[in-house]
Symmetry: C2
Subunit: 205 residues, 2 copies
């Protein structure tokens, strides 16, 4: 009979895996993916290096799983705002200010998630999650078109456009290696809201 893990052992392992992901995420939030190593993660979580390898084959896999967990949180934030009451334009404005404010607060982590050069596994996850965002935006845009708030347009193409605008305009301000000054949310957010709403063909910007 094959060895089976008891529920207690399973729960302990799941908790340890989560502690490792939390430790790795904290390291990325401090110094980007570059600063996150298997050894540093083990030290941060207070376990032996070998323990990390029981849960993740290598750094690339740990990066990808960390990326998925952190990005799921952001996608759910967007989903909850997109599905609220109010005009489509209002909800889009709320999504943008919420997403940008969270990104600018957790600047180093946000840059790591959105753009830091890290490797093919995380890149593939980025493509996947950009489509999750686009799917949410597409429903919102279609609703806005149907209500006469937005111009007639291909909601799928415009949804991709919104994902592109938001990611690309944040890359510069979030990259503390590059930025000569602290990103100024009070300037960036209204500009970003305005360019997105104009892109959808609404006058209410």
């Amino acid at each position: 009979m094959a060895y089976r893990k008891t529920p207690k052992v399973q729960a302990q392992q799941a908790a340890q895996r989560q502690r490792l992901l939390d430790a790795a995420t904290a390291l990325v939030a401090e110094g980007g993916f570059n600063a996150m190593t298997i050894a540093a993660t083990a030290e941060r979580a207070g376990v032996a290096t070998g323990t990390v390898y029981k849960h993740f084959t290598n750094k690339g896999e740990l990066c990808a799983e960390l990326f998925r967990c952190a990005t799921e949180v952001e996608v759910e934030q967007v989903r909850s705002l997109v599905t609220q009451d109010g005009s489509a334009a209002e909800r889009l404005r709320a999504v943008i200010s919420n997403f940008a404010a969270r990104a600018l607060r957790g600047q180093r982590l946000a840059y790591a998630l959105i753009a830091e050069p890290v490797g093919a596994l995380v890149e593939a996850e980025r493509l996947h999650y950009r489509r999750s965002y686009a799917t949410l935006f597409q429903s919102l845009i279609q609703e806005g078109i149907d209500r006469g708030e937005f111009a007639a347009q291909d909601a799928g193409i415009s949804a991709s456009a919104l994902v592109g605008i938001i990611a690309e305009t944040l890359v510069g301000p979030l990259n503390w290696h590059d930025s000569r000054s602290t990103p100024q949310a009070e300037h960036l957010v209204p500009q970003l809201q305005a360019v997105c709403l104009r892109a959808l063909g609404t006058e209410s910007n």
Copy 2:
């Protein structure tokens, strides 16, 4: 006295390096970065595998150099269209139709350059070249604002927005792994032009 290469040897080496880059680019155009290996590049160029390593340390370096060469061509195309005569809106429309048509024609290569998960070296180059495109767009947008063609806006932020829109809306249609049908330039290009021009606050879309 240190050994110096004669001009003739230098020219031969430069020509060989270019043949290798051409062979590698042809492989990427057929099957993406994934299909491009040092061995396949050597075979394609009709040289021994070891010869490739005289010019490039590893596949990552060859990918990055190939990326730079191919992307420089695209940036120069955009530069030449941006600096032509005509209204800012007309030039932007020309940039978009030219860029999208070239991308959709060389679909596999364009996807590889814009979005294929390949590794940190190419990702870093992507960030660099996206800023080159943004710099070109920023001048064009500023000109459009000054002429009263576009709404008042932060031209730097809107330039990043254009880069994001164009890249993100092309990723789906270019990804032949994903796309259920051939990308239809005749539908995509006018939508892309319209969303970009609306984003800049012009009525002429």
